[in-house]
């Protein structure tokens, strides 16, 4: 552990290669503690609605487990299915001190940048999920990362271990109290997906207009295992920079990364996904849909073909709906041997007049036609979502389609 501390201290001033630099000194690492809330009843009705917007159901119905981190306090942690373990990271570190040595800071390099370094040195908890071999979670586990204290930094360290042949869906809903102006969220997430296991991770962001977000996610996927990620951020936020990294380490491992983001005026999003295909038969698909109505988006994507007989596709599509907005799509393919099959599509532009007029010829107004096209553009198939969450995302997409005027 001392090595980790040393590496973290050495990286405390290390800027991230992407995204605007954040002065960590501007955010407090102390926060008021909150009482444990066994029934999630301490949230006001307004707060409940707010967290429901990011897929967190206070009723906990149709959820295999629930975890809520309010500022730095794990205020709720409950599990409703055998074979699935959900703990605050602080408890997991005590309970599994030896086991965690094999996992902590293995997938994510503590020295990646100052955000990972600070999280290692001043961690504000997080969730630990472990699912037993062969266990299939009937419902998703929901985890809410909530900031209510003005001007604080929330440095979260999460870990997910899916043992062989297990199946797990995690919904991570990240949001702030409605009144909150300033805050920083750093989320380090390490996923270990063992042979034949499947993990779906759906992350919904609904931050405030001045919030800075720096998730740092790495995923190790073993033979025959699958990792599916859905990331949705359609509400204003000051800055998000994330570049999750997936290593397909075993034969026939699969990764699918879907991203839907909208940047309103004042939002700065630098998002993407990187997949390294390291074993024969590995397959990956990285799809992003980005819309700007005035904000800036950099949509990155990188596929690294390390061995032969791998197949991967990358798609970065951007729609510019305002003269003030800016989208830069950076798809990259990195092939190291013959026999890799990797491709990409990237398109950035306005909605085509031909499409709008085609729909107008059916009697739709220009506004209605544009809304339908935007809705279609954002209509990325996200597998494994529970019905109510699918409906919620569709509702946000519909509202976005209508509100672009």
């Amino acid at each position: 552990m001392s090595t980790i501390t040393e590496k973290a201290e050495a990286a405390l001033q290390k800027k991230a290669p992407y995204g605007s630099d954040v002065d960590l000194g501007d955010y407090q690492c102390d926060a008021v503690s909150h009482e444990y809330d066994p029934h999630l009843s301490r949230f006001s009705e307004g707060e409940k609605e707010h967290i429901a917007e990011v897929g967190i159901l206070p009723s906990r119905e149709e959820r295999a487990g629930s975890f809520v981190l309010k500022d730095h306090s794990p205020v709720h942690c409950s599990i409703g299915q055998e074979g699935v373990e959900l703990l605050p990271m602080s408890d997991a570190r005590e309970k599994y001190n030896n086991l965690l040595r094999d996992y902590l800071w293995k997938a994510v390099d503590v020295g990646t940048d100052k955000y990972t370094a600070q999280t290692a040195l001043v961690s504000h908890n997080g969730y630990f999920i472990r699912i037993n071999p062969g266990t299939k979670s009937l419902y998703p586990i929901q985890a809410c990362l909530y900031i209510s204290g003005e001007g604080i930094a929330q440095n979260v360290h999460n870990m997910v271990i899916a043992e062989e042949g297990s199946e797990l869906h995690i919904i991570t809903g990240c949001t702030t109290a409605p009144h909150l102006k300033k805050g920083l969220h750093v989320g380090v997430s390490e996923f270990y997906i063992k042979k034949g296991a499947t993990v779906t991770s759906t992350m919904l962001h609904n931050w405030g207009e001045e919030i800075i977000v720096r998730p740092r996610t790495s995923v190790w996927v073993e033979e025959g295992a699958t990792f599916m990620s859905n990331y949705v951020c359609m509400k204003p936020v000051r800055s998000v920079q994330m570049y999750p990294s997936v290593r397909l380490m075993g034969k026939n491992a699969v990764a699918r990364l879907n991203t839907i983001v909208i940047a309103t005026r004042g939002s700065d999003l630098d998002i993407g996904g990187r997949v390294s295909l390291e074993a024969p038969g590995a397959r990956a698909e990285v799809i992003s849909r980005a819309i700007t109505t005035g904000g800036t988006i950099i949509a990155r994507g990188l596929l690294i073909g390390q061995v032969a007989h791998v197949k991967a596709h990358l798609e970065c599509s951007g729609l510019i709906l305002s003269d003030e907005g800016h989208i830069r799509a950076i798809p990259e393919l990195d092939g190291w041997v013959a026999g890799v099959e990797m491709s990409h599509e990237a398109a950035v532009g306005r909605i085509s007049l031909e499409e709008i007029e085609y729909l107008m010829s059916r009697g739709l107004s220009e506004e209605e036609a544009t809304a339908l096209i935007v809705r279609g553009f954002l209509n990325v198939k996200m597998e494994g979502l529970p019905g109510e969450l699918q409906e919620k995302i569709e509702k946000i997409v519909n509202e976005t389609g209508k509100s672009v005027f």
Binding site: E355, E357, M360, E366, G376, L378
Partner: protein, 242 residues
Amino acid sequence: MLLSIENLTVEIAEKEVLQDINLEIDHGETHVLFGKNGSGKTTLLMTIMGFSGCRIVRGRILFKEKDITQLPINERAKMGIGMSFQRPPTIRGLKVNDLVNTFNNNGEQTIEQIVHNLHFSEFMERDINLGFSGGEIKKSELLQLIVQNPELILLDEPESGVDLENIKVIGKVIKKLLQKNLRRQRFKSGLVITHTGLILNYLEADRGHLMLNGRIICEGNPREMFETIQNHGYEECVRCQR
């Protein structure tokens, strides 16, 4: 008169594509447009529909006695003009089913019935025109038209790219769309572009027009005109009318 086009001259990208077009279609009539590729047939249909790329330099278009020359596309559609496109755009993510449910104006048949008649059910959850074959595009267009239920139906080569078996399906649907089963009180009208003439068997068309270099240069019985074109080419049809 349902549609009157008077002295219409149209430019696309500052190039004159239609010159001095005059055309009248009455309630219940079906007219056919013949002409070589590039003669201006599609431009005429798109100008009637109101597409912005077709700039009217002179003349006017009356629909139901109202001057629609400056009217936006969707207003024309709402007045009762509908078009089946030869090469419609692909709209990713927009399902056929979601689209047709936004403008359902057909009080007689349900969407399910229309889809069934067109043998199109397996395409309803597909993105509009994405990976559709020629025949599937035509069926999607016809489905939209029937749901839209317009009075003036503009069909741009409804049979192109369609196999013989499906031409029957499409032909029957067009026949019904144009109310050819009604002897009286037929109020739907059509303006149809065809190259192959195969669709003529289903149209019972009233009048044919031949376009050449952006002008309508002759008119007549559509079957006789098509026969002349088929046997002797477009030039002979032009010569014979002179």
